[in-house]
């Protein structure tokens, strides 16, 4: 719109920014904690990729590695999910959100001791938790499998890490708050809320009966919508205007979609129980709240695609934008699938089939991980003050990830719909239905293998780049204030 284009000229490039040194000081102050967080995220990503291949393989070839109790499907699969979510997802989200918050608030990290301690505790907690799952202490609640002796450590570590985003937010010198910061702060406060409620009501002092499944559906849908989607949206809202040098289209609507998502997203979990053994009104409210997601879907679409419109050639050229654009499309598909899946007739077919897995993989891999990859391709070279070590590896990473997501999600979605239709047909035996999903499960394994190749390329590239980076210059908040005393507020 007209107002947008007139403001485009006010977006000044970084090289001619008012405080040119500020950016490098902020990046340098974040360097050590970010290297630790991203490094551990990538190690977990690699572990999750390997476990993903193993568990996918066992699904169609049960005899694979069946002699050892530690790698039975019931342990490998939750270990993979938890390594992916709490190992890769959270470490990466911590790193990216800290960087985004520091950059947007224009505040450097005052010190990194507590933050590093938090990072160590977090990874210790995840290691304990996944070790517990492998050793057979799983709680058997999806995404909450980590045994009770590991999770309090996670919450403590979260408090140590998460509070630093608020510290840089407060210490920053920006007087405006941008959409990315809304989402970051919302995510920051939502996670301890949903995680502690789920832990107390499901693990430490379990509620009785069907309330368990309601709490669980509420937890898992909120973990996606209020944590992963919020972090992902913060990244998208930051990088679109930054890399396209163009204001977000229809930006004034962003706050509406933010509140809408936070309020109704919290209720949308009930739709995951359609047809399940829970009171009908819970399903009804869940379906209604899921329908409400149409509004943020449309507004996010106007914001994102409206900004991308006419700039697709830039997307093709820019590695970060390619990942982020892929994530934007995946997010739209996730929300569309969410809304459509909440329709009673559709849920009758796809509920409790491989489609559910496809939706989760599309959300966590296709949307969240891809968007985070895009952000990391931008952040890492600036943080380390050096370019990516190897260009072909980045190309391999993008195409393997994109292809892997398409193969994995596509095969599970198509296979799941077919599975659902066959399950609804009383004349087909259950064993026959299960057997008919084999080709799709095999295709999903191929998807996991392709993804693993892509992740390996990325991890190699990161540590290669890290090894080439020079020793960090010691720069802290003091340096920032010394550089621009007149800018202090």
């Amino acid at each position: 719109m007209a107002t947008d284009s007139s403001l485009t000229s006010e977006l000044t490039p970084e090289r001619s920014a008012k405080h040119p040194e500020e950016v490098s000081i902020i990046d340098a102050s974040l360097r050590t904690p970010l290297v630790v967080l991203i490094g551990s995220a990538l190690v977990w990503l690699l572990i999750a990729s390997v476990l993903g291949v193993v568990s996918a393989w066992k699904l169609h070839t049960p005899a694979f590695l069946d002699a050892c109790e530690f790698v039975t499907y019931g342990r490998v699969q939750p270990a993979q999910t938890n390594a992916f979510i709490f190992g890769w997802g959270f470490n990466a989200a911590f790193a990216v959100s800290l960087w985004l918050m520091a950059r947007l608030s224009r505040g450097a990290l005052p010190g990194s001791g507590v933050l590093l301690l938090g990072a160590v505790f977090w990874n210790l907690g995840v290691t304990l938790g996944i070790g517990g799952i492998i050793l057979g202490f799983s709680t058997s609640l999806e995404w909450l499998e980590m045994p009770g002796f590991a999770t309090p450590l996670l919450l403590v570590a979260y408090a140590l890490i998460g509070s630093w985003s608020l510290v840089v937010f407060r210490a920053g010198r920006s007087h405006q708050i941008y959409a990315s910061q809304w989402y970051l702060i919302a995510a920051l406060f939502c996670f301890p809320w949903i995680y502690s409620v789920a832990q107390v009501m499901l693990v430490f002092s379990p509620v009785r009966g069907t309330v368990q499944s309601i709490i669980h559906a509420w937890f898992s849908s909120n973990l996606f919508l209020l944590w992963f989607a919020s972090i992902g949206l913060a990244i998208i809202y930051y990088f679109l205007p930054k890399l396209l040098v163009k204001p977000v289209s229809n930006y004034y609507l962003a706050s509406l979609s933010f509140w809408w998502l936070v309020i109704f997203g919290s209720w949308a979990g009930g739709a995951r129980l359609l047809g399940g053994p829970v009171p009908a009104w819970v399903q009804t409210v869940g379906t209604a709240a899921s329908f409400m997601l149409v509004v943020p879907l449309v507004i996010l679409g106007m914001n994102h695609y409206g900004t991308l419109a006419g700039r697709w050639s830039v997307v093709k050229e820019n590695l970060s934008l390619r990942f982020i654009a892929f994530g934007i499309v995946a997010l739209s598909l996730v929300l569309v699938a969410w809304v459509v899946g909440a329709i009673h007739g559709v849920a009758q077919i796809i509920q409790f089939t491989h489609v559910t897995t496809a939706q989760i993989q599309l959300g966590l891999y296709g949307f969240f991980s891809m968007v985070v990859f895009g952000a990391l391709y931008y952040i890492v070279p600036r943080m380390l003050d050096t370019a990516w070590a190897n260009a072909p590896l980045t190309t391999v990473h993008f195409w393997a990830s994109a292809l892997g997501v398409v193969v994995l999600v596509g095969s599970l979605a198509i296979g799941g719909v077919e599975q659902g239709l066959r399950l609804a047909d009383g004349s087909i035996a259950f064993a026959a239905v299960t057997k008919a999903t084999l080709p799709y499960l095999f295709a999903a394994t191929i998807g996991f293998v392709i993804l693993a190749i892509g992740q390996l390329a990325f991890v190699l590239n990161f540590f290669w780049t890290l090894s080439r980076a020079s020793a960090p210059a010691v720069r802290t908040m003091k340096g920032l204030l010394a550089a621009q005393p007149e800018a202090a507020r």
Binding site: T12, V23, R103, V248, M302
Partner: protein, 225 residues
């Protein structure tokens, strides 16, 4: 190629600076499009979308809330399906029991629990040919009421029986089913041994007299004796 761009990121930082992103968007946030410039049909469409989503989902919730009951597990459950079926299946004993309930909540005030009425004021129901006689007459009495002097078992009463049916000027508006139940009860109680009265018969009488808006008198009811 992307890698080239990355290789030269520190020579050519052409991306928008964080400060300008903040400044431009905080302007945009408070800048609603005015009708005179840069106005698009989009916001209007969005307003429609938001309103219709709220409207449609509210109706959906109301339609499928099933009373927010913790005992109902299927949102397509219709409470009246089972309730309606159950009423059609009432046994004769249940009909009499329902009639007794209606009698003791309302009729008992005048006609007494033993059906003897109050001497000289309210006529008895036990052993009265008004009750056990032609069903056409007793249905009419209950539906529209009765006024003026009447002769019951040789005694003359001069009171007023209110209208209980769904008739003009009636204060009770009992359903035909309820009328049939209470009549069945009084025709079989206190030694009375008249046949039960069906709901369909009450409906038939009500339809035959649908223009009547005032209570009967003894003279008017003589044809139905």
């Amino acid at each position: 190629m992307s890698a080239d761009q990355n290789n030269h990121f520190f020579y050519d930082q052409s991306d928008a600076s964080d400060e300008s992103i903040q400044a431009v968007h905080s302007q945009l946030l408070h800048q609603k499009p005015e009708p005179r410039e840069g106005y698009k049909a989009m916001p209007l469409f969005l307003l429609g979308l938001v309103s219709s989503m709220i409207f449609v989902t509210s109706i959906y919730v109301v339609q499928h809330r099933v009373g927010f009951s913790p005992m109902v597990y299927d949102e397509r459950f219709e409470p009246k399906d089972t309730a309606g079926g159950a009423v059609a299946e009432l046994t004769p004993e249940q009909i009499v029991a329902a009639g007794k309930k209606h009698y003791t909540s309302t009729c008992v005030a005048c006609h007494q629990a033993n059906g003897q009425g109050v001497a000289g004021v309210y006529p008895p129901l036990a052993g009265s040919d008004w009750v056990t006689g032609n069903e056409e007459r007793v249905i009419r009495v209950l539906l529209h009421g009765l006024t003026g002097p009447i002769d019951v078992g040789g005694t003359t009463y001069n009171g007023a029986m209110p209208a209980f049916g769904k008739v003009t000027g009636g204060g009770y508006n009992w359903s035909d089913e309820k009328v049939a139940q209470v009549l069945t009860y009084i025709r079989g109680e206190w030694g009375n041994q008249a046949a039960p009265i069906t709901k369909d018969k009450v409906t038939e009488v009500l339809n035959a007299e649908k223009d009547r808006g005032k209570p009967w008198t003894q003279g008017e009811l003589d044809p139905f004796k």
